[in-house]
């Protein structure tokens, strides 16, 4: 209850008063504190429009600094340095950043520290295609410009330069690469959900997090959604691009368009690819592999260690395994099957419908077919012999028939 007269305020009451949650205490003091924290009065928000303009200008001049030259390396960036391809992309990003900074430097009438310090580089190198669109400010004047802009905000007036610096007129508006966007996306979601360590697991969690939708709704990430047709496919696409060991949302991997998926998978190192495939549920894996163009499927499977191919083929439902094997180009099929250890080969081949097996064997060069079949135990071979139609058997290499004959004595 509220009391009129009390000089004795306990620490607990004081805490409640300070946080605005007091339900008891000196009445007058509560009223004073309520008045001190009353909603914004007219005039207190007079500078809003000018502050918004200052923000718009910063956005127009600083996106690369914001994304790539911030003081803290984002988790993605740290990870990227382990990968040669990503390293190249990072170097490119830095190069673009510098071009963006140098050329946009003159537009920085608001006089940021970063831009004013690079302003001299702009003059020295003469790389200043942005200067035609924006007024040039001598670095020494940058501080004054900032001061002036600040005064402008105070009076509710747009800073003079705000109108002259439009994103479209600046050369830095070169689009970010998908890897850069994904790195940015991941670190922003991590920040939103409070993860700061940034290891692979946390990157996966960030990409799988419900907070992703909010961050992803920014126009900055539109290119990512456009790339994969559907926002639901973005987490997995980014997971693959960032070379995470598992896709963040395994069930959604099939949302990624096959054309995007195959090029993304093709850029993954084999060990990572095997990890990713191994993390997928069988249904998703078969749909993913079955959706790949045969050339990419072949590349994917032949680049994997035999043990992983075995794991994949034996994990898949038999019809899917057959479909995938028949979808492989002949050369890849031969490589995959000859690399499989006999025990796995047995398991894979006997699981296939005989018609599928027949067409597989017929498609292979006879030497390869022979090599494959010679690995099979005689019991399997005789089973095949009985199961395969004579039209197929007649097309199989002669020495194969011989080996069959040897394996199954009359």
């Amino acid at each position: 209850m509220r009391t009129r007269h009390t000089h004795r305020i306990t620490r607990r009451t004081a805490e409640q008063l300070l946080s605005g949650s007091a339900r008891s205490g000196p009445e007058q003091l509560i009223d004073v504190l309520n008045a001190a924290t009353a909603p914004a009065r007219e005039g207190e928000l007079a500078g809003e429009q000018a502050a918004m303009a200052a923000l718009a200008e910063c956005e127009a001049t600083l996106p690369f600094v914001a994304n790539h030259l911030g003081p803290a390396a984002t988790p993605g960036e740290r990870k990227m340095f382990r990968l040669p391809l990503a390293k190249v992309l990072t170097v490119k990003a830095l190069a673009w950043s510098l071009v963006g900074l140098v050329t946009a430097g003159a537009a920085a009438a608001a006089g940021t520290v970063a831009l004013s310090s690079l302003g001299s580089a702009s003059r020295d190198t003469g790389v200043s295609s942005g200067s035609a669109a924006a007024p040039r400010v001598h670095p020494a004047l940058a501080g004054n410009a900032a001061q002036g802009a600040a005064r402008g905000i105070a009076r509710g007036v747009l800073p003079a330069a705000a109108g002259s610096a439009r994103p479209a007129s600046l050369p830095h508006s070169q689009p970010l690469s998908p890897v850069q966007l994904c790195t940015d996306l991941t670190s922003k979601v991590e920040a939103a959900i409070g993860d700061t360590e940034g290891d692979d697991t946390e990157s996966e969690q960030a990409l799988a997090s419900p907070s992703l939708a909010t961050v992803l709704s920014s126009p900055a990430f539109e290119p990512l959604i456009t790339k994969v047709d559907d926002a639901a496919a973005v987490p997995d696409y980014c997971g693959l691009l960032l070379s995470l060991p598992r896709v963040p949302v395994p069930g959604a991997l099939t949302q990624v368009p096959a054309s995007v998926l195959d090029s993304t998978l093709a850029s993954l190192p084999a060990d990572r690819l095997a990890q990713v495939f191994g993390s997928l549920p069988a249904g998703t894996l078969s749909r993913v592999l079955g959706g790949l163009p045969s050339a990419e499927l072949g590349n994917a499977l032949t680049s994997l260690p035999a043990a992983d191919v075995t794991m994949i083929l034996t994990t898949l439902p038999d019809p899917a395994a057959g479909m995938i094997l028949t979808a492989l180009p002949t050369s890849a099929l031969g490589t995959v099957l000859t690399e499989l250890p006999a025990s796995s080969l047995d398991q894979v081949l006997t699981g296939l419908p005989t018609s599928t097996l027949g067409s597989l064997l017929v498609a292979l060069p006879s030497s390869t077919a022979t090599e494959i079949l010679s690995k099979l135990p005689s019991t399997v071979l005789s089973g095949l012999q009985g199961a395969l139609p004579s039209s197929i058997l007649s097309q199989l290499p002669l020495n194969l028939t011989t080996s069959w004959g040897g394996a199954s004595p009359p």
């Binding site: 009390t6 605005g20 000196p26 928000l45 809003e48 502050a51």
Partner: protein
Amino acid sequence: LLTADQRTAHNSADLTAAVEGARRGDAESFRVLYRDAQPRLLRYLAYLVDSDAEDIASETWLQATRDLHAFHGDYENFRGWIATIARHRAMDHLRRRSRQPISIPMPIEDLTDFAGPDDTASRAIEAITTDSALRLIATLPPDQAEAVLLRAVVGLDAKTAAALTGKRPGAVRTAAYRGLRTLAKRLASAEDQAAS
């Protein structure tokens, strides 16, 4: 400005989302932050730099828009962050003007009818406006006044307010409690005088 309960109930998540949005350059998110934080900053800055508060607040927002991309944290962190910028700007300003770091926060013309803490307390009771409330808080000893403003008006916790002022959290807590007790005492005695 809302009470802490309301903030917790309605605004904390929204404002944290707004911080994220503003970091990405989303104008509407930034507007949400501005509308919440600007009155808090102005009232705090008025204590530090009198009538220059608006200019210093503008410099604060200008720096904030530039550095927002490097900020990480939720809305509570954001409030501490921007209050820190505001205080640094205010201190720079005061150094430029070679003033005392802390001064009485009211326009010069108001000083003429400034009689003393008790008188200010009487006026605060008559019609408690935001201005009169802030003026009353400003009559506290500097460390108490700043502690009360940072905690109650800017909305910082003791730890953040301590980091901002370079004090220990315990010292900020104590200063704020003492400030509240002093205010309560003055208000009570002013009310007694008014009643008699």
